[in-house]
Symmetry: C2
Subunit: 162 residues, 2 copies
């Protein structure tokens, strides 16, 4: 009996992504890693997470290829946890989550904001198509890709909105 279905085998990239970073703490650990934290202790203090959970989540993030455990000092052996390229590439998700939270869950105004460090002006994250530069909106569709199974291909015979 499974506690939860593994989303890893699902064809949907959203589901697959969730399979890697779906745990509560994982995304916050990633956030702190982007903030520049690298050490066990820093994460523990910043997050107020129990040490055993931190160990588990860090290990999971390493196995998922988002972070890397690196020996930065021998004798005594000391490790730091740094983002891989895959992990750094997760930032767009953090930005959109950040923006959504600020838009909808900050009734008394933003407690933290994104800014451009050079101008100091606020940054408002929008998702656009790299090629056309046009914002994604109602016009985006999901279609079967090159690696789609016949079954999946049938499901997306008619493009579906996302």
């Amino acid at each position: 009996m499974m506690q939860r279905t593994s989303f890893d085998q699902m064809p949907c990239p959203v589901a697959r992504s969730l399979d890697r970073v779906g745990e509560w703490w994982s995304i916050l650990i990633l956030r702190d890693a982007v903030y520049g934290l690298t050490r066990f202790d820093q994460f523990a203090q910043s997050l107020g997470i129990a040490p055993n959970m931190l160990t588990r989540r860090l290990k999971a993030l390493c196995e998922a290829g988002l972070m890397e455990r690196r020996l930065y000092q021998e004798r005594p052996a000391r490790y730091e946890y740094v983002l891989t390229d895959t992990g750094r590439d997760f930032r767009p998700v953090l930005w959109t989550l950040f923006a959504w939270g600020n838009r909808h869950l900050a009734p008394e105004g933003e407690s933290v904001s994104l800014v451009d460090p050079e101008t100091g002006l606020p940054v408002d994250p929008v998702v656009v198509d790299r090629r056309t530069g046009r914002p994604l909106s109602d016009g985006v569709r999901v279609v079967a890709g090159p690696a789609a199974s016949p079954r999946l291909r049938r499901r997306f015979e008619r493009p579906i909105a996302l």
Copy 2:
């Protein structure tokens, strides 16, 4: 004893967002809602989720303000579940999750892809600043916002990368 800390009171909008949609199924339900599904049965079949869980997650999403339960037929009473504006506004997160998954978790190629329905050309989601149009990259910083507590303001005295 708490099972997990509520992220709702945290000042970080990422944490607050996770408090609303952090459950595994919630995001997949949102995805399916964007796909156009509205009925209990449709969600159940699409997701392969146990009905009691679907009930729970739908209720939570309604309470969180992302979806709305609407009577679409009396006698017998029938309800449909539709996205609110807040819920639709969550799509940028889905897009970036989708793109990340396709970039890093699709070794045999994309099984599904995003396309522009008019041109049929692939869409590659990138996060840019609405004002300048420049892609967010290493240059983005988090600073204390107008509603920041003094404590928070100290933490972000020096802007922090995100």
